[in-house]
């Protein structure tokens, strides 16, 4: 295996600090891994501009690659194109569900004013019921909304469409 393939494999296994059931790759945050003159050049993109987990992601990538024997690593932030929840992989969506989180639907395109409740066709990640109620559009992190299942009465988190 070439050094580049090895670096890509190592980077692909690093998990998100807020959603540890997802790798950065499954989340769509890991944009590219290249070799440039012996330096592993990694590009990541923020889910939200103010995402405080970005520095931790960078540190985790650097540490894992250092442990794998790469002496020189550069991590840069890529803003364009902006991250979309559509980039979460199928494997990532399955992992979210297995950990009691609801995966995002398709990201909305037109930015029309919505004064009514956000309508999402969600199923409870625990019991599978389609009867759910949003309790807050904002959760413990910027990327999550809070829901409650009206069937099993359990609260759950939903990754927002963005």
């Amino acid at each position: 295996m070439s050094a580049l393939d090895r670096a890509r494999r190592v980077a692909a296994e690093v998990v998100d600090p807020e959603l540890p059931m997802l790798t950065l790759q499954d989340l769509g945050v890991l944009r590219s891994v290249e070799m440039e003159d012996g330096v592993v050049a990694v590009a990541i993109t923020p889910t939200y501009l103010g995402c405080p987990a970005l520095a931790t992601m960078r540190d985790d990538l650097v540490h894992r690659l250092q442990e794998a024997g790469f002496p020189s690593i550069g991590v840069r932030i890529e803003l364009d194109p902006p991250w979309s929840s559509d980039w979460i992989s199928e494997r990532g969506r399955l992992a979210l569900k297995q950990h009691g989180l609801s995966a995002p639907g398709a990201a909305p395109r037109p930015l029309v004013l919505n004064l009514g409740p956000t309508r999402r066709n969600l199923t409870c990640p625990r019991c599978g019921s389609g009867r759910t109620t949003v309790t807050s559009e904002f959760g413990a992190t910027a990327c999550k909304a809070l829901y409650r299942c009206d069937e099993c009465r359990e609260p759950f988190e939903h990754l927002k469409e963005i």
């Binding site: 590009a43 923020p46 939200y48 501009l49 103010g50 995402c51 405080p52 970005l54 520095a55 931790t56 960078r58 540190d59 540490h63 840069r76 932030i77 890529e78 803003l79 364009d80 194109p81 902006p82 991250w83 909305p108 930015l111 004013l113 919505n114 004064l115 009514g116 409740p117 956000t118 309790t135 807050s136 559009e137 904002f138 959760g139 413990a140 992190t141 910027a142 809070l146 927002k160 963005i162």
Partner: protein, 278 residues
């Protein structure tokens, strides 16, 4: 384990920074010839300061909102704006390094933090709407509604900015601002159609804040008020009469006393340690 990043990272890191050498790295940062660097830096600085100061005001709400969900919402909105502020401050510094305050030789403070923590009130370019002291919950809702409607409209235009950095910030920002606007809009309608007390409060907040709409509209180049009209209509609130701007503009460095007090609190620790390192 948690402190590994702090200990093993770049030893030049300023004690209060995030240790990202350049938040704009990876973007094509060359300024197109069509844009005047001084004017463009000023434009970025105004947008950055609006986000930074409103972020600080929203953060003051932490633990004070009427319920936990909205407390979290306000903190999230503050964080989104702080993210916009960081990139826009960095962009302003890159386009015109003269805007960055001069710090002692060898200071590890990066440009974005120097701009945030080492400028006095008169050097800030934010509109006055964002610096006003917090009031009740209706006040923060009306302020956020006015701000997010204006900012989303401008950011949608900036998607096609000649500056690729500004276009990238706008592309990310519009999605966040849409959540912000919807949240504020829903609460506006809820309060306006709620009890007589909630309606009284939202009308009072609107009456108090609307005098700042003219300055906001001027700074953001707003053409019409179609979105606000829809929200007012949904809430059964009459569109306030248009007002003429009186007094100085925040974009010219003219501010209310409230900004100095906000900055005193926000900057005091950073200013005590311009050379501070981990």
């Amino acid at each position: 384990m948690a402190f590994d990043g702090l200990l093993e990272g770049n030893s030049d890191q300023w004690a209060f920074g995030t240790d990202f050498d350049d938040p704009l790295a990876g973007l094509d940062v060359a300024l197109p010839a069509a844009l005047d660097p001084l004017e463009h830096a000023r434009f970025c600085l105004g947008l950055a300061d609006d986000a930074l100061i409103l972020s600080q005001r929203l953060a003051e709400w932490c633990s004070r909102a009427p319920d936990l969900e909205d407390d979290v919402a306000l903190a999230n909105l503050a964080l989104d704006l702080l993210g916009q502020a960081r990139l826009l401050l960095g962009r302003a510094a890159l386009v015109d390094p003269a805007v960055v305050p001069v710090l002692p030789a060898g200071s590890p403070v990066p440009a974005e933090d120097a701009l945030a923590f080492f400028r006095d009130a008169a050097a800030f370019r934010n509109v006055q709407l964002v610096e006003l002291p917090n009031g009740d919950f209706a006040h923060v809702i009306v302020r956020l509604l006015m701000f997010s409607v204006a900012r989303l409209e401008l950011f949608q235009q900036l998607l096609s900015s000649a500056d690729p950095v500004l276009a990238a910030v706008a592309a990310r920002g519009v999605k966040e601002l849409a959540y912000q606007r919807d949240w504020a809009g829903r609460w506006f309608v809820t309060l306006a159609r709620g009890t007589s007390e909630s309606r009284r409060r939202v009308l009072a907040a609107l009456a108090g804040l609307w005098v700042h709409q003219a300055e906001l509209a001027e700074a953001y180049g707003l053409s019409g008020g179609a979105v606000l009209e829809r929200v007012f209509l949904a809430g059964g609130v009459a569109q306030p009469d248009s007002v003429v701007r009186v007094g100085g503009r925040g974009r010219d460095g003219m501010h209310t006393e409230a900004l100095s007090l906000l900055l005193a609190e926000m900057q005091v620790v950073a200013r005590a340690h311009p050379m501070g390192r981990w």
